[in-house]
Symmetry: none
DNA sequence: TAGTTCAACTTGTATATACAACTTAGCATA
DNA sequence: TATGCTAAGTTGTATATACAAGTTGAACTA
C-alpha cells in the first residue's frame, strides 16, 4: 500500500492528520491553505479541498471563509446517546474490539422483573452477562435479561460474532426504548471486572427495549468512569431549511 | 427564497428529500442517478454528486458503486436528553424547589474557554455558581459561564425567580446543544455542598449551548448519585423532538 | 489620528471533462 | 443448458477553470 496507488485525497488527509498528531499544527492554528496543499502535495485544488472537507466533517478541522482552515479542539469523538453496537463504536475509534462471555443461561425470572416482562412466578427467562473490551481493556459490563417469547434462540447464539444488541435488533426490530442513566459506586465484582481504581465510580445505563408491544429485553450497562463518557448533541433546525 | 438564488446543491438536496418525504422513493429504492439529476435539475454532475454525497453523509441515502443511490432505512434517532428547567422538574415530582446563589460575577475568561467563546485574553465573561434544591436537599450544583454578547444583563437577574437556564432561553433562543455525561468522584466542595455520603460519586453533565452561531453558555452540572437519575425514552414511530 | 479603500488571500460554489472501478443484464459461445 | 464476455450504466477519483464571498492588513485620504 505505497502512496503511489493510494487515493490522493487520502494522502492529503494523512498528511494533515500526521501534522496534527506530531504537533506541527496545534489547536486553533492554521493548517496549510488549499492552494498551499496544491503545491506541497502536488494535487489539484479540488482534491486538497476534499481532504480538508472530510477532515472538517470528522471534526478534526474547522474552516472560516476568508480566513483559513484550523485545527479543531479535540473533542471526544464518542457516539451520541444512541443505541449502537458497541463493537462498531470501538472500531470506529480505531481500536480493537473483543468480548468475554461470563454467563449465558435460562433461569427463573427474578421477582422484581416479573411484571415488566409480564411473566408469572416460576417462568423462565434468558440471562446473559458479558464484558466488552476496547484494546483488551474492559469498558462495559452488560447484564441482560431477554424475553424468551421475543428471542427464543437467544441461548444458541455465538456472541463473539454478534453482540446481543445486534442479534436482538435482527430478530425483534426495536420500536421503543427507555434509558436510565446514573452514577454509582462500584461493587467488588465491577471493581475486578472493569479493573477500576480505588473509589472509581461507574456510569450505569439501564435500558429497556420493546419490539412493538413486546418487552424484548432489560439490560444494565456499567462503565468505568475514567474510560467512558456519553455525549449527545442536537440541533433544532435541520429540516428542509435553506439558508 | 426563490430557487433562483439558492445554492444549487441545496435545490437538489431538497428535491430528493421532498421525494422521500412524500413517498416517491421508499426505503431501499433507487433515487435518480447523478446523470439523471443533471438532466432533471439542470446542474452539473459534480453538483448533483455533492447533493447525494451530503445526503449520504447525513444518513438519508446510501450508495453502492456500480448500482446506484438508495434511500436509507430510517435510523434510530438518539434519544436526546431533554433540556429542562430543573425547577419544573422538581415541582412536577410534587416537591418543593429552592436554590441558593453562591457566586455571580464578571471575571476574566479562563484560558481554556477563550477559544470556545471566541474571546481574547483579558476579555470578560459572566460566571455563576448556584445550588438547586429539592425539598431543601441539594440535588444540583450548576456552574455556568455566560457569553456577555449573548446575555448582557445576566448579572442583573434575580435567579430566585427564574433559573439561569430559563433566562438564557428567553434572551437567546436555543438552537444547538452538546452534552457530555460522565460519572465522577466528588471533590471536597461537592461533598459538602451536595451533602454526599462517603465515597458517593456524582453524575456530571457538561453542556454547551448555542443560539444561532453564538456560543451562549457553557455549564457543568453535578448531581449526587443517590438522588439523581437521567431518563430518556424514544420510539421509532416519530422522530422525537423533545424540546 | 482616524477612517476608508483596496489588493491579496482565503474558503465556497459551480461547471466541464476524463478515466477508473464496479454491477447488471443480455448476448455469444462451448 | 451453462458459462463467459461485453456493453451500458452506475458511482468513485482527479484535474482545470471560473467566479463569488468573506477576511485581513497595508496604503491612502480626510
Amino acid at each position: 500500500m505505497t502512496e503511489a496507488n493510494a487515493r490522493r485525497y487520502m494522502v492529503v488527509k494523512n498528511f494533515i492528520k500526521q501534522g496534527i498528531e506530531d504537533g506541527s499544527w496545534k489547536e486553533h492554528k492554521r493548517v496549510p491553505s488549499e492552494n498551499q496543499l496544491v503545491e506541497t502535495c502536488n494535487v489539484s485544488r479540488m482534491t486538497a479541498r476534499r481532504a480538508l472537507d472530510e477532515l472538517t466533517e470528522e471534526g478534526i478541522l474547522y474552516r472560516v471563509q476568508g480566513r483559513g482552515t484550523f485545527v479543531a479542539p479535540k473533542k471526544l469523538h464518542s457516539p451520541m446517546l444512541e443505541i449502537r453496537n458497541i463493537a462498531d463504536e470501538v472500531s470506529e475509534r480505531g481500536h480493537k474490539y473483543s468480548n468475554e462471555l461470563i454467563l449465558l443461561q435460562k433461569e427463573q425470572c427474578p421477582n422484581h422483573l416479573l411484571h415488566y416482562f409480564d411473566l408469572d412466578e416460576g417462568d423462565d427467562i434468558y440471562h446473559s452477562i458479558m464484558v466488552h473490551k476496547e484494546d483488551n481493556k474492559p469498558i462495559q459490563i452488560e447484564q441482560r435479561y431477554v424475553n424468551p417469547k421475543a428471542a427464543p434462540d437467544y441461548l444458541k447464539q455465538n456472541f463473539n460474532e454478534m453482540t446481543p444488541n445486534v442479534y436482538l435488533s435482527a430478530v425483534a426490530p426495536l420500536t421503543q426504548a427507555e434509558h436510565q442513566i446514573e452514577a454509582k459506586e462500584a461493587d467488588p465484582f465491577m471493581r475486578v471486572t472493569l479493573k477500576l481504581q480505588d473509589n472509581e465510580p461507574v456510569l450505569s445505563i439501564d435500558r429497556t427495549t420493546w419490539s412493538r408491544d413486546l418487552l424484548v429485553s432489560y439490560c444494565q450497562l456499567f462503565h468505568p468512569a475514567s474510560r467512558f463518557k456519553l455525549t449527545g448533541r442536537f440541533t433544532t433546525e435541520h429540516q428542509l431549511t435553506e439558508l
